[in-house]
């Protein structure tokens, strides 16, 4: 099987190996590192990770599917996750979601047809004091108004 994950992935994993007493503990770090390279975890990638760890691909899928951050489907270039949990909904998060849904004519959980944006409703991001909060890929945006969201999307 030809390897899809890079040399850098395997080097990073090699560095992590001595930090854990079992090989299985490398699974979450491996999934994170792989997703950073490929943006989503396709079945072949999961298989390659399974081979690296030394477990069955079904076990990798079983674990990966437990966690919401692992993308088991392709996502857009910009992955917007808008928190709609208590503190954010009290501070108007629904307007942010509605704005995006209307602008792109998609529902939460969907990707625009040009593959640029994926929209998700998110659980509490740990930024409740600066609600409403949103993530775009790895970055937080807080105290967000619809106008600021609009301007931010224009820049992307």
């Amino acid at each position: 099987m030809q390897k899809l994950l890079s040399e850098a992935f395997y080097l990073e994993m090699k560095k992590l190996e001595p930090k854990y007493p079992t090989r299985l503990a490398l699974l979450l770090p491996a999934l994170h590192a792989a997703q950073k390279e490929t943006s989503w975890l396709s079945p072949v990638i999961l298989e390659e990770i399974a081979k690296y760890i030394g477990i069955h691909p079904a076990q990798v899928r079983e674990v990966a599917s437990f966690y919401t951050m692992y993308n088991l489907k392709p996502v857009g270039k910009y992955h917007l996750k808008i928190c709609t949990n208590v503190a954010c909904i009290l501070r108007g998060a629904e307007h942010l979601v509605k704005y995006c849904e209307k602008k792109w004519n998609i529902q939460c959980g969907e990707t625009t047809s040009d593959k640029k944006f994926t929209l998700m409703e998110e659980e509490c991001l740990g930024a409740c004091g600066t609600a409403p909060a949103m993530m775009v890929n790895d970055d937080y945006y807080e105290n967000l108004s619809v106008e600021q969201l609009e301007a931010l999307i224009e820049r992307l």
Binding site: K19, A25, L28, M69, V86, E123, G126, C128
Partner: protein, 423 residues
């Protein structure tokens, strides 16, 4: 006013650096002192400090550390719980991004006290930037000899690894966390055995919250008695980071002595009162899992025991304030949607019950509820409460029971009027 330990450093990027920590915060002097003490002396000091766990359950940290067996055939582990996913909670993030060395020093001392050489920081996956900042701090600490082999020339060696979660509330529960650390689904374990007997990789393990751990260097440096006196109540020492969110004029973190304020004082004297000067409707005092309080119940002291006495809890000290403009039925519907989504599915009462509660509350909110739905909700909640492996079930049941009991007329208006009266 009591002295604050943390908050004066928040918002300052320079505070992250080891140079700031050493020069301005007496950084790593507690570690130096600790390695000249015996394990029992350290645990004794933490017990004297009355440091109660800041993650939610409020268990005394010193007593927990004392449960770790002295001899163990398997390696012991010290784990920092940085999952911070309880809705309404946002204190650990600032501790990690502005005072990462305080957290590291606390972990190293904790590791020394229980005879462990390995620490993990289990941080929620969304905190990518914070994980990077912690790693940068760890690199600095290795470079200066506060981590690694023979720390400060002593026989004690210790390593810390940052382990990222990947989006699952249940991984904040300590045994779910341990399974996740081991590369499994984050499903909570049957207890006993408790982590102190068999935790990470089968070895004796301590799991403590970030804020609990960040308090440790102060206790070692200035003594357990000093720390205990920062708190105003017996058996509850130190300061607390209260995270206030929702409908207040000035949301954010407030650090105050444990048990030194009532909810009313916090909201009106510190947070500037209710947003838009509207009427207060409800306060959820300890993260969304804490049973709700009405506007008439806020003269209670914000601490573990007083809140327990009024049937709620301090939990993670995330205080969510709701004014009269927001429909409480809608709020509860959103809260329970969260628990239904985050239930790991192992225990039938929680998996099925949370889903049913979500459906019923949503139908009430949208005007399709019936009179008997309220008792049905209470019945389902009662069938979840206390009947699951971990406390996620209770965390979902408590809000449902308290909202329905305390705001029953709001629910009845939805049912009788067949729509939300605010809509």
């Amino acid at each position: 006013m009591t002295e604050t330990l943390f908050i004066q450093h928040f918002g300052k990027e320079e505070a992250r650096k080891i140079s700031y920590y050493v020069e301005k915060m007496e950084g790593y002097t507690a570690l130096k002192k600790a390695i000249s003490l015996s394990q029992d002396e350290i645990i004794g000091e933490v017990k004297k400090a009355n440091l109660r766990g800041r993650g939610g359950a409020g268990f005394p940290a010193g007593i927990k550390w004392g449960f770790i067996p002295k001899q163990s055939s398997k390696p012991k582990y010290f784990v920092c719980n940085a999952d911070e996913s309880e809705p309404g909670t946002f204190k650990d993030r600032d501790l990690m991004r502005y005072t990462p060395h305080l957290v590291l020093e606390g972990i190293i001392i904790g590791g020394y006290a229980i005879g462990s050489n390995t620490g993990y920081i289990y941080i929620r996956g969304e905190y990518t930037r914070e994980a990077g900042l912690l790693q940068a701090a760890i690199d600095e600490a290795y470079e200066k000899g506060y981590l690694g082999k023979n720390i400060l020339g002593s026989p004690f060696s210790f390593d810390i690894t940052v382990h990222r979660g990947a989006g699952a509330y249940i991984c904040g529960e300590e045994t779910g966390l341990l399974n996740s650390l081991e590369g499994k689904r984050g499903e909570p374990r049957v207890k006993p055995p408790f982590p102190a007997q068999a935790g990470a990789f089968g070895g004796p393990t301590i799991v403590n919250n970030v804020e609990t751990i960040a308090s440790i260097p102060f206790i070692i440096r200035r003594g357990g008695d000093w720390f205990a006196k920062l708190g105003k109540l017996e058996k509850s020492g130190g300061t607390r980071l209260f995270g206030v969110s929702g409908h207040v004029k000035k949301p954010g973190l407030y650090e105050l002595g444990s048990g030194s304020v009532t909810i009313r004082e916090l909201i009106y004297d510190y947070c500037g009162g209710i947003l838009d000067d509207r009427k207060l409707k409800a306060v959820i005092p300890g993260g969304s899992s804490a049973p709700v309080l009405t506007a008439d119940e806020i003269d209670v002291v914000l601490d573990i025991e007083p809140l327990m006495k009024v049937g709620s809890m301090l939990g993670s000290a995330g205080i969510i304030v709701v004014n009269e403009t927001f429909c409480v039925v809608k709020l509860l519907a959103r809260m329970i949607k969260f628990y239904a989504h985050e239930s790991c599915g192992q225990c039938t009462p929680c998996r099925e019950g949370c889903q049913w509660m979500e459906n019923i509350i949503e139908r009430i909110e949208h005007g399709g509820g019936e009179e008997r739905d309220l008792n049905l909700l209470l019945d389902i909640a009662d069938n979840i409460n206390g009947k699951t492996l971990c406390a996620l079930g209770d965390a979902a049941a408590g809000p449902v029971m308290s909202f329905v009991k305390k705001f029953r007329s709001d629910f009845e208006q939805h049912i009788r009027g067949k729509k939300c009266p605010n809509a």
